[in-house]
Protein backbone atom coordinates (compact mmCIF):
# COMPACT_ATOMS: atom_id res chain seq x y z
CA UNK A 1 0.00 0.00 0.00
CA UNK A 2 1.19 3.55 -0.74
CA UNK A 3 2.53 5.30 2.27
CA UNK A 4 1.15 8.71 3.06
CA UNK A 5 2.19 11.73 5.04
CA UNK A 6 3.90 11.41 8.41
CA UNK A 7 1.17 11.04 11.06
CA UNK A 8 3.35 10.49 14.13
CA UNK A 9 6.24 12.84 14.70
CA UNK A 10 8.70 12.13 17.47
CA UNK A 11 11.24 14.87 18.06
CA UNK A 12 14.18 15.02 20.45
CA UNK A 13 12.47 12.59 22.81
CA UNK A 14 14.34 11.77 26.02
CA UNK A 15 13.59 9.78 29.13
CA UNK A 16 15.84 9.83 32.17
CA UNK A 17 15.46 7.57 35.21
CA UNK A 18 17.63 9.29 37.78
CA UNK A 19 21.09 9.20 36.21
CA UNK A 20 20.20 6.61 33.58
CA UNK A 21 19.25 7.95 30.16
CA UNK A 22 16.94 5.29 28.71
CA UNK A 23 15.95 7.26 25.63
CA UNK A 24 18.31 9.93 24.40
CA UNK A 25 17.32 12.65 21.93
CA UNK A 26 15.33 10.33 19.68
CA UNK A 27 13.77 11.74 16.51
CA UNK A 28 11.80 9.89 13.84
CA UNK A 29 8.54 10.06 11.92
CA UNK A 30 6.00 7.37 11.11
CA UNK A 31 4.01 7.73 7.89
CA UNK A 32 0.44 6.65 7.41
CA UNK A 33 0.03 2.99 6.34
CA UNK A 34 3.64 2.30 7.27
CA UNK A 35 5.02 -0.49 9.42
CA UNK A 36 7.91 0.96 11.38
CA UNK A 37 10.21 -1.37 13.28
CA UNK A 38 12.19 -0.36 16.34
CA UNK A 39 15.08 -2.74 16.85
CA UNK A 40 18.23 -2.82 18.90
CA UNK A 41 20.02 -4.85 21.56
CA UNK A 42 18.43 -5.51 24.96
CA UNK A 43 18.19 -2.41 27.10
CA UNK A 44 18.56 -0.03 24.17
CA UNK A 45 15.34 1.84 25.03
CA UNK A 46 12.89 0.31 22.54
CA UNK A 47 10.17 -0.58 25.02
CA UNK A 48 10.70 2.69 26.86
CA UNK A 49 10.02 4.49 23.60
CA UNK A 50 6.71 2.64 23.18
CA UNK A 51 5.84 3.40 26.79
CA UNK A 52 6.48 7.08 26.17
CA UNK A 53 4.26 7.10 23.08
CA UNK A 54 1.40 5.30 24.85
CA UNK A 55 1.73 7.47 27.93
CA UNK A 56 2.67 4.69 30.34
CA UNK A 57 5.74 6.85 31.02
CA UNK A 58 6.05 10.63 30.90
CA UNK A 59 8.82 12.03 28.67
CA UNK A 60 11.62 14.04 30.30
CA UNK A 61 12.13 16.06 27.13
CA UNK A 62 11.00 16.29 23.54
CA UNK A 63 7.66 16.02 21.77
CA UNK A 64 5.30 13.34 20.49
CA UNK A 65 2.73 14.64 18.03
CA UNK A 66 -0.01 12.51 16.43
CA UNK A 67 -1.82 14.16 13.51
CA UNK A 68 -1.12 17.61 14.89
CA UNK A 69 -2.17 16.74 18.46
CA UNK A 70 0.52 16.99 21.09
CA UNK A 71 0.48 13.76 23.13
CA UNK A 72 3.59 14.46 25.17
CA UNK A 73 1.98 15.39 28.47
CA UNK A 74 -1.37 13.61 28.11
CA UNK A 75 -2.36 10.77 30.47
CA UNK A 76 -2.61 7.29 28.88
CA UNK A 77 -6.40 7.24 28.60
CA UNK A 78 -6.40 10.46 26.57
CA UNK A 79 -3.62 9.14 24.35
CA UNK A 80 -5.67 5.99 23.79
CA UNK A 81 -8.68 8.12 22.80
CA UNK A 82 -6.48 10.14 20.47
CA UNK A 83 -5.94 6.94 18.51
CA UNK A 84 -2.98 5.06 19.98
CA UNK A 85 -3.53 1.38 20.88
CA UNK A 86 -0.95 -1.03 22.20
CA UNK A 87 -0.16 -4.55 23.27
CA UNK A 88 2.17 -5.28 26.15
CA UNK A 89 5.52 -7.02 26.25
CA UNK A 90 4.17 -9.58 28.71
CA UNK A 91 0.71 -10.34 27.39
CA UNK A 92 -1.95 -8.62 29.50
CA UNK A 93 -5.47 -9.85 29.05
CA UNK A 94 -8.29 -9.21 31.49
CA UNK A 95 -8.47 -12.52 33.41
CA UNK A 96 -12.00 -12.34 34.80
CA UNK A 97 -13.65 -11.21 31.59
CA UNK A 98 -14.78 -13.48 28.78
CA UNK A 99 -13.03 -13.44 25.41
CA UNK A 100 -15.58 -11.17 23.79
CA UNK A 101 -15.68 -8.84 26.80
CA UNK A 102 -11.92 -8.44 26.47
CA UNK A 103 -12.45 -7.14 22.94
CA UNK A 104 -15.39 -4.92 23.91
CA UNK A 105 -13.07 -3.40 26.54
CA UNK A 106 -11.02 -2.07 23.63
CA UNK A 107 -14.04 -0.71 21.78
CA UNK A 108 -16.14 0.79 24.57
CA UNK A 109 -13.87 3.68 25.56
CA UNK A 110 -12.21 4.53 22.24
CA UNK A 111 -12.49 7.83 20.40
CA UNK A 112 -15.53 6.38 18.62
CA UNK A 113 -17.00 4.33 21.47
CA UNK A 114 -19.12 1.27 20.72
CA UNK A 115 -21.43 -0.21 23.33
CA UNK A 116 -24.25 -2.69 23.67
CA UNK A 117 -25.38 -4.71 20.66
CA UNK A 118 -23.23 -2.71 18.26
CA UNK A 119 -20.09 -3.47 20.31
CA UNK A 120 -20.95 -7.18 20.42
CA UNK A 121 -21.38 -7.41 16.68
CA UNK A 122 -18.20 -5.45 16.08
CA UNK A 123 -16.19 -7.55 18.56
CA UNK A 124 -17.56 -10.80 17.12
CA UNK A 125 -16.52 -9.80 13.62
CA UNK A 126 -13.06 -8.88 14.86
CA UNK A 127 -12.68 -12.20 16.70
CA UNK A 128 -13.81 -14.01 13.58
CA UNK A 129 -11.08 -12.30 11.60
CA UNK A 130 -8.47 -13.28 14.18
CA UNK A 131 -9.71 -16.88 14.17
CA UNK A 132 -11.07 -16.70 17.73
CA UNK A 133 -14.71 -16.68 16.67
CA UNK A 134 -15.58 -20.06 18.17
CA UNK A 135 -14.06 -19.13 21.54
CA UNK A 136 -15.79 -15.82 22.09
CA UNK A 137 -17.90 -16.84 25.07
CA UNK A 138 -15.18 -18.79 26.85
CA UNK A 139 -13.21 -17.58 29.83
CA UNK A 140 -9.72 -16.45 28.95
CA UNK A 141 -8.05 -19.13 31.11
CA UNK A 142 -8.90 -21.71 28.45
CA UNK A 143 -6.88 -19.91 25.76
CA UNK A 144 -3.47 -21.07 24.50
CA UNK A 145 -0.59 -18.62 24.54
CA UNK A 146 -0.93 -17.58 20.90
CA UNK A 147 -4.69 -17.18 21.35
CA UNK A 148 -4.02 -14.88 24.31
CA UNK A 149 -1.71 -12.87 22.05
CA UNK A 150 -4.39 -12.77 19.37
CA UNK A 151 -6.94 -11.63 21.91
CA UNK A 152 -4.72 -8.82 23.11
CA UNK A 153 -4.27 -7.77 19.49
CA UNK A 154 -8.03 -7.90 18.95
CA UNK A 155 -8.52 -5.63 21.96
CA UNK A 156 -6.05 -3.14 20.52
CA UNK A 157 -7.67 -3.26 17.08
CA UNK A 158 -11.13 -2.83 18.59
CA UNK A 159 -10.44 0.84 19.22
CA UNK A 160 -9.78 1.33 15.50
CA UNK A 161 -6.51 3.09 16.28
CA UNK A 162 -4.68 5.57 14.09
CA UNK A 163 -1.51 3.84 15.14
CA UNK A 164 -0.90 0.43 16.68
CA UNK A 165 2.05 -0.26 18.98
CA UNK A 166 3.16 -3.87 19.21
CA UNK A 167 5.70 -4.53 21.95
CA UNK A 168 7.46 -7.80 21.05
CA UNK A 169 4.17 -9.28 20.01
CA UNK A 170 5.91 -12.30 18.45
CA UNK A 171 8.09 -13.09 21.48
CA UNK A 172 7.58 -16.50 23.06
CA UNK A 173 5.88 -18.11 20.08
CA UNK A 174 7.17 -21.48 18.83
CA UNK A 175 8.36 -21.74 15.18
CA UNK A 176 5.00 -22.77 13.70
CA UNK A 177 3.11 -20.18 15.78
CA UNK A 178 5.65 -17.62 14.67
CA UNK A 179 4.68 -18.19 11.02
CA UNK A 180 1.02 -17.72 11.94
CA UNK A 181 1.91 -14.55 13.86
CA UNK A 182 3.92 -13.01 11.03
CA UNK A 183 1.16 -13.88 8.59
CA UNK A 184 -1.35 -12.13 10.87
CA UNK A 185 0.64 -8.92 11.16
CA UNK A 186 1.29 -8.88 7.44
CA UNK A 187 -2.48 -9.03 6.90
CA UNK A 188 -2.86 -5.97 9.15
CA UNK A 189 -0.18 -4.30 7.07
CA UNK A 190 -2.03 -5.05 3.85
CA UNK A 191 -5.17 -3.53 5.37
CA UNK A 192 -3.18 -0.30 5.46
CA UNK A 193 -2.75 0.03 9.20
CA UNK A 194 -0.02 2.15 10.68
CA UNK A 195 2.07 0.07 13.05
CA UNK A 196 5.14 0.50 15.20
CA UNK A 197 6.61 -2.79 16.25
CA UNK A 198 9.40 -3.47 18.67
CA UNK A 199 10.80 -6.82 17.71
CA UNK A 200 13.75 -9.16 18.10
CA UNK A 201 12.73 -11.69 15.47
CA UNK A 202 14.81 -10.75 12.40
CA UNK A 203 12.64 -12.71 9.94
CA UNK A 204 9.67 -10.68 11.06
CA UNK A 205 11.52 -7.41 10.68
CA UNK A 206 12.69 -8.25 7.17
CA UNK A 207 9.29 -9.39 5.96
CA UNK A 208 7.05 -6.90 7.78
CA UNK A 209 8.78 -3.56 8.19
CA UNK A 210 8.84 -0.81 5.61
CA UNK A 211 11.42 1.04 7.61
CA UNK A 212 13.34 0.55 10.85
CA UNK A 213 14.86 2.67 13.53
CA UNK A 214 17.83 1.03 15.21
CA UNK A 215 18.52 2.05 18.82
CA UNK A 216 21.54 1.50 20.98
CA UNK A 217 21.93 2.85 24.54
CA UNK A 218 18.88 5.02 24.06
CA UNK A 219 20.12 6.69 20.87
CA UNK A 220 19.06 6.22 17.28
CA UNK A 221 22.04 4.85 15.39
CA UNK A 222 20.39 4.11 12.03
CA UNK A 223 17.13 4.55 10.14
CA UNK A 224 16.05 3.11 6.79
CA UNK A 225 14.71 -0.01 5.13
CA UNK A 226 15.47 -3.29 6.94
CA UNK A 227 18.05 -4.21 4.28
CA UNK A 228 19.81 -0.86 4.65
CA UNK A 229 20.00 -0.79 8.40
CA UNK A 230 20.95 -4.43 8.83
CA UNK A 231 24.01 -3.94 6.61
CA UNK A 232 25.00 -0.70 8.35
CA UNK A 233 28.40 -1.23 10.00
CA UNK A 234 27.39 0.64 13.13
CA UNK A 235 24.32 -1.57 13.56
CA UNK A 236 26.42 -4.69 13.14
CA UNK A 237 28.83 -3.32 15.73
CA UNK A 238 25.99 -2.60 18.16
CA UNK A 239 24.69 -6.14 17.91
CA UNK A 240 27.95 -8.07 17.73
CA UNK A 241 30.41 -5.81 19.50
CA UNK A 242 33.65 -4.41 18.11
CA UNK A 243 35.28 -7.86 17.74
Amino acid sequence: MMQGEPILKISNLSKRFGGLVAVDDLTFNVREHEVMGIIGPNGSGKSTTLNLISGALRASDGMIVLEGQDLTVLPPHKIARAGVARTFQLVRILPKLSVIENVIAGAAFASKPRWGGEAELFASALLERLELGDKKHLGVDSLTYIDQKRLELARALASEPEILLLDEWLAGLNPSELQIGIELISRLRNEGRTIILVEHVMDAIRSLCDRCVVMNSGKKIAEGTPAEVLSDPEVVRAYLGDG
Partner: protein
Protein backbone atom coordinates in the same frame (compact mmCIF):
# COMPACT_ATOMS: atom_id res chain seq x y z
CA UNK B 1 -34.86 -7.42 27.76
CA UNK B 2 -33.34 -10.85 27.99
CA UNK B 3 -35.16 -13.72 29.67
CA UNK B 4 -32.77 -13.78 32.63
CA UNK B 5 -33.35 -10.08 33.19
CA UNK B 6 -37.12 -10.50 33.23
CA UNK B 7 -36.72 -13.33 35.72
CA UNK B 8 -34.40 -11.27 37.95
CA UNK B 9 -36.79 -8.34 37.83
CA UNK B 10 -39.72 -10.57 38.77
CA UNK B 11 -37.80 -12.09 41.69
CA UNK B 12 -36.76 -8.60 42.77
CA UNK B 13 -40.36 -7.34 42.78
CA UNK B 14 -41.59 -10.35 44.78
CA UNK B 15 -38.80 -9.93 47.35
CA UNK B 16 -39.52 -6.20 47.62
CA UNK B 17 -43.26 -6.86 48.17
CA UNK B 18 -42.48 -9.43 50.86
CA UNK B 19 -40.12 -6.94 52.48
CA UNK B 20 -42.81 -4.24 52.48
CA UNK B 21 -45.11 -6.57 54.43
CA UNK B 22 -42.61 -7.34 57.22
CA UNK B 23 -43.77 -4.58 59.66
CA UNK B 24 -47.39 -5.69 59.23
CA UNK B 25 -46.75 -9.20 60.46
CA UNK B 26 -43.91 -8.91 62.98
CA UNK B 27 -43.79 -7.71 66.56
CA UNK B 28 -41.48 -5.05 67.94
CA UNK B 29 -38.51 -7.31 68.56
CA UNK B 30 -38.39 -8.86 65.10
CA UNK B 31 -39.17 -5.56 63.44
CA UNK B 32 -36.21 -4.05 65.21
CA UNK B 33 -33.95 -6.82 63.88
CA UNK B 34 -35.45 -6.41 60.42
CA UNK B 35 -34.77 -2.68 60.55
CA UNK B 36 -31.14 -3.32 61.46
CA UNK B 37 -30.89 -5.86 58.65
CA UNK B 38 -32.42 -3.41 56.16
CA UNK B 39 -29.91 -0.78 57.23
CA UNK B 40 -27.03 -3.17 56.56
CA UNK B 41 -28.54 -4.32 53.26
CA UNK B 42 -28.52 -0.76 51.97
CA UNK B 43 -25.03 -0.09 53.38
CA UNK B 44 -23.37 -3.33 52.25
CA UNK B 45 -24.91 -3.32 48.79
CA UNK B 46 -23.88 0.27 48.12
CA UNK B 47 -20.42 -0.44 49.59
CA UNK B 48 -20.02 -3.33 47.15
CA UNK B 49 -20.87 -1.11 44.18
CA UNK B 50 -17.42 0.42 44.56
CA UNK B 51 -15.37 -2.17 46.43
CA UNK B 52 -16.71 -5.22 44.58
CA UNK B 53 -15.34 -4.51 41.11
CA UNK B 54 -12.25 -2.51 42.15
CA UNK B 55 -11.21 -4.80 45.06
CA UNK B 56 -10.41 -1.66 47.04
CA UNK B 57 -11.65 -2.32 50.57
CA UNK B 58 -12.98 0.98 51.87
CA UNK B 59 -13.30 1.30 55.66
CA UNK B 60 -14.92 4.69 55.50
CA UNK B 61 -18.60 3.68 55.65
CA UNK B 62 -18.73 4.71 59.32
CA UNK B 63 -17.56 8.21 58.42
CA UNK B 64 -20.25 8.75 55.77
CA UNK B 65 -22.91 7.13 57.93
CA UNK B 66 -21.78 9.35 60.79
CA UNK B 67 -22.09 12.48 58.68
CA UNK B 68 -25.69 11.53 57.95
CA UNK B 69 -26.54 10.89 61.59
CA UNK B 70 -24.60 13.81 62.96
CA UNK B 71 -25.97 16.38 60.51
CA UNK B 72 -29.52 15.29 61.30
CA UNK B 73 -28.67 15.47 65.01
CA UNK B 74 -27.00 18.86 64.99
CA UNK B 75 -29.51 20.33 62.55
CA UNK B 76 -32.54 19.28 64.56
CA UNK B 77 -31.06 19.73 68.02
CA UNK B 78 -29.01 22.90 67.68
CA UNK B 79 -30.67 24.75 64.82
CA UNK B 80 -34.23 23.41 64.93
CA UNK B 81 -34.10 22.45 61.30
CA UNK B 82 -36.41 19.97 59.66
CA UNK B 83 -35.48 16.26 59.59
CA UNK B 84 -36.28 16.02 55.88
CA UNK B 85 -34.08 18.99 55.05
CA UNK B 86 -31.12 17.53 56.92
CA UNK B 87 -31.69 14.06 55.47
CA UNK B 88 -31.64 15.63 52.00
CA UNK B 89 -28.51 17.73 52.62
CA UNK B 90 -26.37 15.12 54.40
CA UNK B 91 -25.84 12.78 51.43
CA UNK B 92 -24.46 15.64 49.34
CA UNK B 93 -22.07 16.66 52.11
CA UNK B 94 -20.87 13.03 52.24
CA UNK B 95 -20.53 12.97 48.47
CA UNK B 96 -18.33 16.03 48.60
CA UNK B 97 -16.20 14.41 51.31
CA UNK B 98 -15.99 11.23 49.21
CA UNK B 99 -14.76 13.37 46.33
CA UNK B 100 -11.97 14.78 48.51
CA UNK B 101 -11.04 11.33 49.85
CA UNK B 102 -11.18 9.90 46.35
CA UNK B 103 -8.90 12.57 44.92
CA UNK B 104 -6.45 12.07 47.81
CA UNK B 105 -6.35 8.27 47.50
CA UNK B 106 -6.29 7.86 43.73
CA UNK B 107 -2.70 6.75 43.67
CA UNK B 108 -3.06 4.41 46.62
CA UNK B 109 -3.64 0.77 46.00
CA UNK B 110 -4.31 -2.32 48.08
CA UNK B 111 -3.57 -2.12 51.76
CA UNK B 112 -2.61 1.56 51.64
CA UNK B 113 -6.10 2.45 50.53
CA UNK B 114 -7.61 0.36 53.35
CA UNK B 115 -5.49 2.03 56.02
CA UNK B 116 -6.05 5.49 54.62
CA UNK B 117 -9.84 5.17 54.65
CA UNK B 118 -9.79 3.74 58.19
CA UNK B 119 -7.49 6.50 59.43
CA UNK B 120 -9.53 9.14 57.74
CA UNK B 121 -12.78 7.89 59.27
CA UNK B 122 -11.17 7.98 62.72
CA UNK B 123 -9.87 11.47 62.07
CA UNK B 124 -13.33 12.72 61.15
CA UNK B 125 -14.82 11.11 64.24
CA UNK B 126 -12.28 12.75 66.53
CA UNK B 127 -12.51 16.08 64.75
CA UNK B 128 -16.28 16.21 65.07
CA UNK B 129 -16.09 15.15 68.75
CA UNK B 130 -13.52 17.81 69.43
CA UNK B 131 -15.50 20.57 67.72
CA UNK B 132 -18.64 19.42 69.49
CA UNK B 133 -16.97 19.39 72.92
CA UNK B 134 -15.07 22.65 72.59
CA UNK B 135 -17.27 24.93 70.57
CA UNK B 136 -20.81 23.69 70.42
CA UNK B 137 -21.32 23.11 74.12
CA UNK B 138 -23.54 20.12 74.53
CA UNK B 139 -22.00 16.73 73.88
CA UNK B 140 -25.08 14.91 72.81
CA UNK B 141 -27.80 15.74 70.33
CA UNK B 142 -31.47 14.85 70.46
CA UNK B 143 -33.30 13.60 67.40
CA UNK B 144 -36.95 13.62 68.30
CA UNK B 145 -39.43 12.65 65.61
CA UNK B 146 -42.77 10.89 65.35
CA UNK B 147 -41.26 8.05 63.37
CA UNK B 148 -41.98 4.51 64.49
CA UNK B 149 -39.68 1.60 63.76
CA UNK B 150 -41.96 0.66 60.87
CA UNK B 151 -41.53 4.11 59.28
CA UNK B 152 -37.78 3.87 59.55
CA UNK B 153 -37.87 0.35 58.17
CA UNK B 154 -39.89 1.43 55.14
CA UNK B 155 -37.62 4.39 54.47
CA UNK B 156 -34.58 2.11 54.62
CA UNK B 157 -36.30 -0.34 52.31
CA UNK B 158 -36.90 2.48 49.84
CA UNK B 159 -33.21 3.40 49.99
CA UNK B 160 -32.23 -0.25 49.53
CA UNK B 161 -34.45 -0.50 46.45
CA UNK B 162 -32.88 2.64 45.00
CA UNK B 163 -29.42 1.18 45.73
CA UNK B 164 -30.35 -2.01 43.87
CA UNK B 165 -31.74 -0.09 40.90
CA UNK B 166 -28.62 2.10 40.84
CA UNK B 167 -26.41 -0.99 40.97
CA UNK B 168 -28.41 -2.67 38.22
CA UNK B 169 -28.06 0.42 36.05
CA UNK B 170 -24.32 0.78 36.76
CA UNK B 171 -23.68 -2.89 35.95
CA UNK B 172 -25.21 -2.41 32.52
CA UNK B 173 -23.46 0.89 31.87
CA UNK B 174 -20.04 1.62 30.48
CA UNK B 175 -19.12 2.96 33.93
CA UNK B 176 -19.73 -0.45 35.51
CA UNK B 177 -17.76 -2.16 32.76
CA UNK B 178 -14.92 0.33 33.27
CA UNK B 179 -14.85 -0.54 36.97
CA UNK B 180 -14.60 -4.26 36.18
CA UNK B 181 -11.72 -3.62 33.81
CA UNK B 182 -9.98 -1.51 36.46
CA UNK B 183 -10.40 -4.37 38.95
CA UNK B 184 -8.82 -6.76 36.44
CA UNK B 185 -5.86 -4.64 35.36
CA UNK B 186 -5.69 -0.92 35.94
CA UNK B 187 -2.81 -0.48 33.50
CA UNK B 188 -4.84 -2.02 30.69
CA UNK B 189 -7.83 0.06 31.73
CA UNK B 190 -5.87 3.27 31.21
CA UNK B 191 -4.58 2.12 27.84
CA UNK B 192 -8.00 1.31 26.44
CA UNK B 193 -9.09 4.85 27.18
CA UNK B 194 -10.69 4.65 30.63
CA UNK B 195 -10.34 7.64 32.90
CA UNK B 196 -9.64 5.39 35.88
CA UNK B 197 -9.48 8.20 38.40
CA UNK B 198 -12.84 9.67 37.46
CA UNK B 199 -14.52 6.25 37.31
CA UNK B 200 -13.35 5.28 40.79
CA UNK B 201 -14.22 8.63 42.34
CA UNK B 202 -17.71 8.58 40.83
CA UNK B 203 -18.48 5.17 42.33
CA UNK B 204 -16.91 6.10 45.65
CA UNK B 205 -19.10 9.21 45.81
CA UNK B 206 -22.14 7.05 45.13
CA UNK B 207 -21.37 4.79 48.08
CA UNK B 208 -20.73 7.84 50.28
CA UNK B 209 -24.06 9.32 49.26
CA UNK B 210 -26.04 6.23 50.23
CA UNK B 211 -24.16 5.64 53.49
CA UNK B 212 -24.96 9.18 54.65
CA UNK B 213 -28.58 8.83 53.59
CA UNK B 214 -28.88 5.64 55.65
CA UNK B 215 -27.16 7.35 58.59
CA UNK B 216 -29.64 10.23 58.41
CA UNK B 217 -32.67 7.94 58.27
CA UNK B 218 -31.45 5.80 61.16
CA UNK B 219 -30.72 8.82 63.38
CA UNK B 220 -34.26 9.03 64.85
CA UNK B 221 -33.80 5.44 66.04
CA UNK B 222 -31.02 6.50 68.37
CA UNK B 223 -32.96 9.54 69.70
CA UNK B 224 -29.74 10.65 71.40
CA UNK B 225 -26.67 11.07 69.21
CA UNK B 226 -23.04 11.35 70.15
CA UNK B 227 -20.29 11.67 67.54
CA UNK B 228 -18.56 8.62 69.02
CA UNK B 229 -21.64 6.52 68.45
CA UNK B 230 -22.58 7.44 64.90
CA UNK B 231 -19.04 7.68 63.54
CA UNK B 232 -18.57 4.04 64.43
CA UNK B 233 -15.49 2.22 63.10
CA UNK B 234 -17.20 -1.06 64.03
CA UNK B 235 -19.94 -0.26 61.54
CA UNK B 236 -17.36 0.10 58.77
CA UNK B 237 -16.03 -3.37 59.55
CA UNK B 238 -19.47 -4.95 59.86
CA UNK B 239 -20.47 -3.64 56.46
CA UNK B 240 -17.34 -5.15 54.90
CA UNK B 241 -17.76 -8.50 56.64
CA UNK B 242 -21.40 -8.86 55.67
CA UNK B 243 -20.71 -7.97 52.05
CA UNK B 244 -17.82 -10.44 51.87
CA UNK B 245 -19.89 -13.15 53.54
CA UNK B 246 -22.53 -12.82 50.85
CA UNK B 247 -20.16 -12.24 47.96
CA UNK B 248 -19.35 -8.96 46.24
CA UNK B 249 -19.25 -10.05 42.62
CA UNK B 250 -23.04 -10.10 42.33
CA UNK B 251 -25.41 -7.27 43.08
CA UNK B 252 -27.55 -9.43 45.39
CA UNK B 253 -24.49 -10.98 47.12
CA UNK B 254 -24.32 -8.65 50.14
CA UNK B 255 -28.05 -9.19 50.78
CA UNK B 256 -27.40 -12.91 51.19
CA UNK B 257 -24.67 -12.17 53.72
CA UNK B 258 -26.49 -9.50 55.73
CA UNK B 259 -29.50 -11.54 56.82
CA UNK B 260 -27.71 -14.48 58.54
CA UNK B 261 -24.99 -12.23 59.91
CA UNK B 262 -27.45 -9.78 61.44
CA UNK B 263 -29.18 -12.65 63.25
CA UNK B 264 -25.87 -14.08 64.41
CA UNK B 265 -24.67 -10.66 65.50
CA UNK B 266 -27.86 -10.15 67.47
CA UNK B 267 -27.21 -13.44 69.29
CA UNK B 268 -23.59 -12.49 69.96
CA UNK B 269 -24.51 -9.10 71.44
CA UNK B 270 -27.07 -10.79 73.69
CA UNK B 271 -24.91 -13.68 74.92
CA UNK B 272 -21.44 -12.11 74.82
CA UNK B 273 -22.04 -8.37 75.18
CA UNK B 274 -18.49 -7.66 76.34
CA UNK B 275 -16.63 -9.59 73.66
CA UNK B 276 -18.29 -8.46 70.43
CA UNK B 277 -15.01 -7.20 68.96
CA UNK B 278 -13.45 -10.62 69.51
CA UNK B 279 -16.29 -12.29 67.62
CA UNK B 280 -16.07 -9.68 64.90
CA UNK B 281 -12.42 -10.61 64.36
CA UNK B 282 -13.09 -14.34 64.46
CA UNK B 283 -15.93 -14.13 61.97
CA UNK B 284 -13.78 -12.03 59.66
CA UNK B 285 -11.02 -14.66 59.72
CA UNK B 286 -13.45 -17.51 59.16
CA UNK B 287 -15.10 -15.81 56.19
CA UNK B 288 -11.83 -14.91 54.51
CA UNK B 289 -10.37 -18.40 54.99
CA UNK B 290 -13.40 -20.60 54.44
CA UNK B 291 -15.62 -18.75 52.00
CA UNK B 292 -13.47 -16.22 50.16
CA UNK B 293 -16.08 -15.71 47.43
CA UNK B 294 -18.98 -15.59 49.86
CA UNK B 295 -22.20 -17.59 49.84
CA UNK B 296 -22.84 -16.57 46.24
CA UNK B 297 -19.44 -17.92 45.19
CA UNK B 298 -20.12 -21.20 47.02
CA UNK B 299 -23.54 -21.46 45.44
CA UNK B 300 -22.23 -20.74 41.94
CA UNK B 301 -19.32 -23.17 42.09
CA UNK B 302 -21.68 -25.84 43.47
CA UNK B 303 -24.04 -25.20 40.58
CA UNK B 304 -21.20 -25.41 38.08
CA UNK B 305 -20.12 -28.76 39.58
CA UNK B 306 -23.66 -30.12 39.27
CA UNK B 307 -23.89 -29.14 35.62
CA UNK B 308 -20.62 -30.84 34.73
Amino acid sequence: MKLAEVRNLAVGIVVALLAIAVPLVSDGYWLSIATTAMMYIALSTSWALFSGPTHLIALSTGAFFGIGGYLVGTGMSDYELDFWLMAAVAPFVAMFLALLIGLATLRLSGVYFVIFTLGLAEMIRNLVSWIQNNFLGSRGLYVLTDFTDAHIYWMLLAVAIVVFLTGWWINRSRLGFALRIIGNDEEVAKHVGIDTAWSKVTLFMTTGFFAALVGAIVAPRYSYIEPNVVFSPQLSFLVVIMALLGGVHRLWGPLVGVIPFTLMWEAITIFFPSSTTLFLGISFLLIVYLIPNGFVGMFESGLARLRR
